[in-house]
């Protein structure tokens, strides 16, 4: 069982979950459980999604027409609801990713000013 120490886990920032879901769905349609797993796995389990909180986020994205949902069959031939990125969602992802990079960069610069002698 891969578990990390409690203090190394990070609570998700407001709104970032939406971004992560969009990013996850860029790889292809997935059902809710798979999305949660993917986020945990891709972040080396640093990001801990309380799996339930995925659902309000999914519905928000649906309402905004960034993703759509459809009934489908999963790998083991069970019925499941699949979520899929829309054209609009794809555009939104690009937009949000750009914003995120800028934000993350800015925060990083503030927290860790460029070391002396480092590359300028």
């Amino acid at each position: 069982m891969t578990t990390k120490e409690e203090k190394e886990r990070i609570e998700l920032l407001q709104g970032t979950l939406d971004l992560l879901i969009l990013r996850t769905l860029l790889l292809g349609p997935a059902h809710g459980h798979a999305i949660a797993k993917a986020i945990e796995f891709n972040s080396d389990d640093v990001l801990q999604v309380e799996q339930g909180s995925l659902y309000p986020a999914l519905h928000r994205l649906i309402k905004r027409r960034w993703i759509s949902s459809a009934e489908g069959t999963s790998e083991n031939n069970r019925r499941a609801k699949f979520y899929r990125l829309t054209v609009k969602g794809r555009r939104q992802l690009t937009l949000e990713t750009g914003k995120w990079d800028k934000l993350a960069g800015a925060i990083a610069r503030i927290l860790r000013p460029a070391k002396q002698g480092g590359k300028s």
């Binding site: 069982m1 059902h31 809710g32 459980h33 949660a36 797993k37 309380e50 799996q51 339930g52 909180s53 659902y55 309000p56 986020a57 519905h59 928000r60 309402k63 905004r64 027409r65 069970r78 019925r79 499941a80 609801k81 829309t86 054209v87 609009k88």
Partner: protein, 875 residues
């Protein structure tokens, strides 16, 4: 709703699936199934909370989108301020007119009367031969009260006039005698003191009095210590026991009721009075659980019992009818208000058609934008929703402006002060009216917005995008044309209705009511029992007054009567009459008003004496028993014969007021019928008796004069004061006032209908003009080519005129046809004009046709000014 339920079920399913999978994963990792399930649920978190949050997301996103749409809509409106201004102004006019008329309808017809348990109050009318709304006699009220189960209270009132003395100025007041339970039916509690107690309305009870707020303030300086003091009414001392609340008003179907200032109990045993003297208005409160219909059938049963038990009831063929108080109250004004409300709804429809047209013109430009959005993945439903939001927003902006217009319009309506709509003063922009306006704003938003929204959301994406932003015609010219047709026909209906009202009003101006009110001054005097106890004292006073007034400069003739025509201020008296010697049966008798009349009356009001003579001072009870009848009565009793010298059996009281006996009188004159109650209906015939045969407690005097009214009014005051210092003069006014009052309701309806029709016509013109100029703009290129290849300018103009004028003509024709079908609904309001009055219809079609064609002509002319080179180069 079901959509929401489905979404909830899907969410449930989704969550169950999720937990199932997690459990499966855990089992694969080697957990025992039970533990695996718990771990999965723990990891998922609080299921209920998740569901709740998801639902909140639905709502918050919905609101977010709404806000987005609103902001987008506002931005679009700002981008085309001209469109926005015209649309909002149009809506404000249409909705504002509705706001104003609705606040009147609401106050008068919809809001319950301001009485406790108003819904359970009912009038009980006594049917008397062919008079269905007659007053009841004392014994009738007592019998009904003791036998009825449907009514928990039955009260009675009789209105007369009285004189208050002992205060600064003697004042003639409207006085009501009531049963002890009358006021508690209509008021929760007194402002000061108490109501009359049971038993205080009997013979021998102490004389008590209740004041209205108005009189208390005016005559008694709002003295809070008034309760318990005595005041002199008709020369007797009455103890004041209470003051009614400020807002108290007697809203009964009789304008003189509204003016009552003083209440005293019947100081009489009603059951001992004569059964055939009806004078009491009965009002009752239904017992809880009883309907008006039940009360009606019970009243009928009681009436049939009474007819069997007493010959007086059988003779008058007594029936009783029960009507809800409110329904009875609004009876005279309901048709007018309902018609006005219908008219204003038509105005709203014209408004909607107009704004829809504006939107259609604009949607041409927006089709491209919409198609682009659809191509980028916006759902059709979402686009329609956005358009609807925009339109409802527009409706609400219009509605907000409408409140201002409605407020101003209502102020104007109230300033018209129509007589007889007593509840009108209560009209105001209250919560109901605000709610109505809001509802209307949203509704109009949907009405004028749905067609354009759908037409935009439909349509082939590729086609539209290929057109690449060119301003193109939006598919369906027929939609716009049919909007024009409906606008024109709606306006046409309104104009026809208004035209008929105007014709009615002019008929009213020309009507001959049987007298000439011009140059006649009238005033009222009342004779208190205590100081004018004998008939002689009254006749002597009147004789002296007449002589004194006749001697004044400018006096042509002086007369008087107990009840002036068109004056509903004093109670009307009427009874059965028959030719002397004829068998006493209802079918042989004539129901007629009877009037106590002074010599000189007919000359003074300008009536026409057909044969015989007027009364003279020598006509007194001792010497002659004489009467004058009008031609209606003469024709009914002695058809084809000379009435002069014939004998008539009448009810008179030569021994003093209200002491009725039946006696034969000789007809000495026949006068042309006078319309006593309305300008529009002939009404009952009239029988006139000399004062000494039929004394009354109050008289109206009429002076025909060449002097200015103001001047002579001063003479009147002096002359009365000289004879009796304590005699107040009331209702001193030109007789024309009564005529004006009788025309007031028709004038009110005509003025309002005219305003509404003008508004509709104006809106329709804007609509026609807008559509025509739009189509000219759309077809600029085509017109330019036509001109370039040598088309005659006149031909081009005529072509546009033909195409835009056609819907106007079709609209006028359908409008006239619809109006013809609808006007029977107005029959109650019309007088002296046929519903299908050809003159009105012809005039309206001419006006509307001309105005409509003019509205097309202006843009059509501008089409001929097109310079083909400029237009074609710009393409």
């Amino acid at each position: 709703m079901s959509r929401r339920k489905r979404m909830l079920e899907e969410l449930d399913q989704d969550i169950r699936d999720h937990i199932e999978r997690e459990t499966q994963d855990n089992i694969e990792r080697g957990m025992p199934p039970e533990e695996a399930r718990y771990a999965a649920i723990r990891k998922f978190g609080n299921v209920t909370l998740v569901k709740e949050e998801t639902r909140e997301v639905w709502i918050s996103v919905w609101l977010e989108q709404l806000w987005q749409d609103i902001r987008y809509g506002l931005r679009m409106l700002r981008k085309s301020p001209g469109f926005a201004a015209v649309a909002i102004l149009t809506l404000a006019l249409g909705i504002g007119a509705n706001t104003a008329i609705f606040s009147v309808v609401n106050a008068v017809l919809l809001q319950p009367l301001p009485y406790p348990n108003a819904k359970r109050l009912a009038m009980i009318w006594s049917t008397w031969g062919n008079e269905t709304r007659g007053p009841a006699s004392g014994p009738e009220l007592i019998e009904l009260r003791s036998r009825s189960h449907a009514f928990e209270e039955i009260a009675g009132i009789w209105v007369t006039s009285g004189t208050i003395t002992g205060t600064a100025e003697p004042e003639q007041v409207r006085l009501a005698m009531t049963t002890a339970n009358f006021l508690p039916l209509l008021a929760e509690k007194q402002q000061l003191g108490r109501f009359f107690a049971p038993g205080e309305d009997r013979r021998g009870a102490a004389p008590l009095l209740i004041l209205t707020d108005g009189l208390w303030r005016r005559q008694f300086g709002a003295n809070p210590a008034i309760v318990g003091q005595t005041t002199r009414l008709n020369g007797n001392d009455f103890t004041v026991v209470g003051v009614l609340p400020r807002e108290f008003k007697l809203l009964f179907p009789d304008s003189r009721m509204a003016e009552v200032q003083v209440f005293i109990p019947f100081l009489n045993d009603l059951e001992k009075q004569s059964r055939d003297t009806g004078y009491i208005r009965m009002v009752g409160r239904l017992r809880r659980g009883f309907t008006v219909a039940q009360a009606q059938s019970e009243a009928e049963t009681i009436a049939s019992q009474l007819r069997r038990e007493a010959k007086e009831y059988a003779e008058q063929s007594l029936h009783l009818s029960v009507l809800p108080l409110q329904e009875d109250d609004v009876r005279p004004v309901q048709p007018a208000l309902v018609s006005l409300f219908a008219a204003v709804v038509l105005v709203l429809l014209v408004t909607c058609a107009n704004v829809a047209n504006l939107l259609l013109s604009r949607s041409g430009g927006r089709r491209h934008e919409t198609a682009l959005r659809a191509a980028m993945g916006a759902e059709r439903r979402r686009i329609v929703r956005q358009f609807l939001t925009e339109n409802i927003l527009l409706g609400c902006l219009g509605g907000t402006a409408a409140l201002g217009i409605g407020w101003a319009a209502l102020k104007w309506i109230l300033s018209l002060q129509p007589e007889g709509i007593y509840l009108l003063v209560a009209a105001k922009l209250d919560g109901w009216v605000l709610a109505f306006t809001l509802m209307l704003s949203i509704l109009t938003g949907i009405m004028f917005g749905l067609a354009p929204a759908l037409s935009v959301a439909r349509g082939d994406l590729v086609e539209i995008l290929k057109e690449s932003g060119k301003a193109t015609t939006t598919g369906k010219p027929w939609l716009r044309q049919s909007l024009i047709v409906s606008e024109v026909s709606l306006s046409c209906i309104l104009l026809v209705g208004t035209g008929l009202m105007i014709r009615t009003f002019t008929s009213l101006l020309r009507v001959d009511p049987g007298f000439h009110a011009e140059n006649a001054l009238t005033f009222q005097l009342s004779f208190p029992w205590s100081r004018y106890g004998t008939v002689e004292s009254v006749t002597n006073f009147l004789k002296d007054l007449r002589m004194n007034l006749a001697a004044m400069p400018g006096a042509e003739s002086v007369g008087g009567v107990s009840h002036l025509p068109l004056d509903e201020g004093l109670g009307n008296w009427y009874s059965y009459y028959w030719a002397e010697g004829a068998p006493i049966q209802l079918q042989n008798t004539v129901m007629a008003d009877h009037r106590s009349t002074l010599p000189g009356y007919f000359r003074s009001i300008g009536a026409t004496l057909l044969t015989g003579r007027e009364f003279e001072d020598a006509d007194d009870a001792v010497h002659t028993h004489v009467a004058i009848v009008d031609d209606t009565v003469a024709e009914q009793i002695w058809p084809g014969q000379d009435a002069i010298g014939k004998k008539l059996s009448v009810e008179d009281s030569p021994a003093g007021a209200f002491q009725f006996i039946r006696e034969p009188v000789v007809v000495v004159g026949v006068v042309k019928h006078i319309q006593a109650h309305s300008l529009t209906s002939k009404g009952r015939g009239q029988i006139y008796l000399p004062v000494s045969l039929a004394p009354r407690p109050a008289y109206s005097l009429v002076v025909r004069t060449t002097a200015p009214m103001q001047t002579f009014a001063a003479y009147v005051q002096l002359a009365v004061k000289k004879l009796d210092k304590e005699m107040p003069v009331s209702n001193l006014r030109p007789q024309m006032d009564y005529i004006e009052k009788a025309r007031a309701q028709t004038r009110f309806v005509t003025v309002l209908a005219g305003a509404l029709a003008a508004l509709a016509l104006f809106l329709a013109c804007i609509g026609i003009y807008g559509v025509t100029s739009y189509s000219v703009a759309q077809r600029k290129r085509e017109i330019a080519i036509r001109i370039a290849v040598g088309a005659n300018l006149g031909d081009v103009g005529r072509m546009i005129l033909r195409q835009s004028g056609l819907p106007v003509i079709v609209g006028v024709v359908t409008g006239l046809a619809t109006a013809l079908a609808l006007t029977p609904l107005l029959s109650g309001l019309l007088y002296g004009v046929r519903q299908s009055d050809p003159l009105t219809y012809a005039a309206i079609s001419l006006v509307l046709g001309a105005v409509g064609v003019l509205a097309c002509y202006i843009p059509a002319r501008s089409a001929t000014k097109v310079d083909p080179m400029i237009v074609l180069r710009s393409e």
